[in-house]
C-alpha cells in the first residue's frame, strides 16, 4: 500500500515534470499567460505527509523545474510558498481524522467544489510568488498581478483537464 503510493507519486512526478519542461515551457500567450502544471504534483501529495517532507519535496520539485528553466531558485521559492499555503489550507478545510483512508486530495475524492477552490488558492499564491521574484521590482505590481491572474487561469484549466482525463471515481 505504502509502496503503491510512492510509486504513484514518482510516476506522476516524472510525467508532470516532463510535460512541463519539454512541452508547456514553449506555450504562452504574449508573455502574460504561461502555465505551470507541474505544481499538480505537490497538490496531489498525500494528506498525511509530514510537513518537513512536504517542504523538501516541494523544494526539490521547484529546483528540478528551475534546472530546466535556467532560473535556479525561482520555482523553488514559489513551491516553498505553495507548500506553506497547502498546509494552511488543508488544516483549515479538512479534518484529517475523517480522511484516514483517503490518501490524497484529488478531484475524484474531494469533489469538484473543494478541489477547484483548493487549486485556485494554491495556484494563485504559487504564481504570485513566482512572478514577483521573477520581476523582482514590486513597483511593477500591476504587471505582476496581471500575469498571475492570466497564468493561474491557464494552469487551473490544464489541471482540471488532467484530473478529468485521469478521473477515477473512488467509492468510499
Amino acid at each position: 500500500m505504502m509502496g503503491g503510493i510512492i510509486l504513484n507519486n514518482i510516476i506522476r512526478f516524472v510525467l508532470l515534470i516532463g510535460l512541463q519542461v519539454f512541452f508547456l515551457k514553449n506555450i504562452g500567450f504574449y508573455n502574460l499567460s504561461s502555465p505551470f502544471l507541474y505544481i499538480l504534483f505537490i497538490l496531489l501529495l498525500p494528506f498525511k505527509i509530514p510537513n518537513g517532507l512536504l517542504f523538501l519535496l516541494a523544494f526539490f520539485t521547484g529546483l528540478t523545474v528551475d534546472v530546466f528553466y535556467d532560473t535556479l531558485g525561482l520555482n523553488a521559492a514559489a513551491c516553498s510558498v505553495l507548500a506553506f499555503v497547502r498546509i494552511i489550507f488543508i488544516s483549515v478545510t479538512v479534518q484529517k481524522e475523517g480522511f484516514d483512508n483517503e490518501p490524497f486530495p484529488s478531484l475524484g475524492i474531494m469533489g469538484f467544489r473543494w478541489f477547484i477552490f483548493y487549486a485556485i488558492i494554491l495556484t494563485f499564491f504559487h504564481h504570485l510568488t513566482l512572478f514577483s521574484f521573477e520581476t523582482f521590482y514590486f513597483s511593477e505590481f500591476g504587471y505582476i498581478l496581471l500575469r498571475t491572474i492570466f497564468s493561474s487561469f491557464f494552469t487551473i484549466l490544464l489541471m482540471l483537464l488532467a484530473e478529468f482525463i485521469f478521473f477515477r471515481k473512488k467509492l468510499r
Binding site: N51, G52, F55, A58, F59, G62, L63, D66, T71, L72, G73, L74, A76, A77, S80, V81, A83, F84, I87, I88, F133, F136, Y137
Partner: protein
C-alpha cells in the same frame, strides 16, 4: 530552551517556509544575473541613502574648517582676478569689409573713477595713449553716450562726462537738431536739457533723443527720452528735459569711439579757417 523548541515545532510549517524560502532566494540571487543585479542595486540604494544621511550630519562638524579653506581659496582666486591686474591688452574689433569702409572702432575700457555730484563731473578709465586713445574721442556705454575724452596719459584717460557744464553734444529729436547741455539750473545726474530746438517743432513726451552725427559720435546713438517739454519765457526755442539712458551712477565698462576719419575731417575744416 524547551519552550522555544515547543514553539518552533508547533509552528513548524512557518519556520520550514522561512528556511526553504531563504534557501531558494539565496540560490536565486546567486545564480541569476538579473536578480543579483536588482538585489545589489536595491541594497546599494539603501547603503547610499544611509551614507547620505550620515554625511549630511558629519559635514556640519567640519563646517568651520570648510569655511576656512573656502575663504583661503577665495583669496587665492581674487589674486588671479582680472581686476587685480592691470590689463595691458586692448580689445578692439575691426571688420574688414570691401563694400563699406570702417569709420568707427570701439575700444573697451573700464571705469576706474567716476563722479556725478559735482558741477563738472569727470570719469577716469584704464585706457590711454598706449591703447590708441586720443583727446577728443567720444565715449559711450552699452546704453547711451557717456562723454568726451579730455586728457590722456600713457595708461589712463579722463573723460569729460555729459554731466559737465561745458559739454555740448549735438543731438537730434525727430530729425531736428539741437544741443544737449547739462548743469544750467539742473544738477540731477539722470536729467539733461536739449536746447536750440525751435518752438514750431512738435516734441512729445517719450520721444527718443539720439546723436546727430555732427559731433564725435556716430549718428543714431541713443541719448535718452523726452520727459518734459515747454516754452521758456519769451524764448523762441523749446526747453526740453531729457531722461538720460546712461545711468552714470553705476557705470562699469565704456567704449571709446575711434573715428578713423577724424583727422582728415579736422584737417579739411582747418583749411576753411585759414582762408
Amino acid at each position: 530552551m524547551r519552550n522555544l523548541w515547543i514553539f518552533i515545532s508547533k509552528y513548524n510549517a512557518f519556520f520550514l517556509l522561512i528556511f526553504f524560502l531563504v534557501l531558494s532566494l539565496i540560490l536565486l540571487v546567486n545564480n541569476n544575473s538579473y536578480q543579483r543585479a536588482s538585489a545589489w542595486n536595491s541594497s546599494n540604494f539603501m547603503i547610499g541613502l544611509a551614507y547620505q544621511r550620515v554625511n549630511s550630519f558629519t559635514s556640519y562638524l567640519s563646517l568651520g574648517r570648510t569655511n576656512d579653506s573656502l575663504a583661503l581659496e577665495n583669496a587665492v582666486l581674487r589674486n588671479r582676478l582680472k581686476t587685480s591686474l592691470f590689463n595691458d591688452s586692448i580689445e578692439q574689433h575691426e571688420v574688414t569689409d570691401t563694400l563699406t569702409e570702417q569709420q568707427y572702432t570701439y575700444i573697451v575700457a573700464k571705469v576706474i573713477n567716476n563722479s556725478i555730484h559735482q558741477k563738472n563731473n569727470y570719469i577716469t578709465i584704464n585706457r590711454g595713449l598706449n591703447h590708441g586713445i586720443q583727446k577728443g574721442m567720444g565715449v559711450v556705454s552699452a546704453k547711451g553716450i557717456v562723454g568726451i575724452v579730455l586728457n590722456v596719459s600713457e595708461r589712463f584717460a579722463t573723460i569729460q562726462s555729459v554731466l559737465h557744464s561745458d559739454t555740448r553734444i549735438s543731438a537730434s529729436v525727430n530729425g531736428d537738431i539741437g544741443s544737449l547741455v547739462w548743469g544750467e539750473g539742473n544738477y540731477d545726474p539722470r536729467l539733461a536739457i536739449l536746447k536750440d530746438i525751435p518752438n514750431h517743432v512738435i516734441v512729445k513726451r517719450g520721444n527718443k533723443v539720439v546723436t546727430s552725427g555732427y559731433s564725435l559720435f556716430p549718428s543714431g546713438l541713443e541719448i535718452g527720452r523726452v520727459t518734459r517739454t515747454g516754452l521758456k519765457g519769451g524764448d523762441s526755442f523749446l526747453d526740453i528735459e531729457i531722461w538720460l539712458s546712461t545711468n552714470f551712477s553705476n557705470l562699469q565698462y565704456v567704449y571709446v569711439i575711434n573715428n578713423m576719419f577724424a583727422q582728415e575731417q579736422k584737417d579739411l575744416e582747418t583749411l576753411n579757417k585759414t582762408e
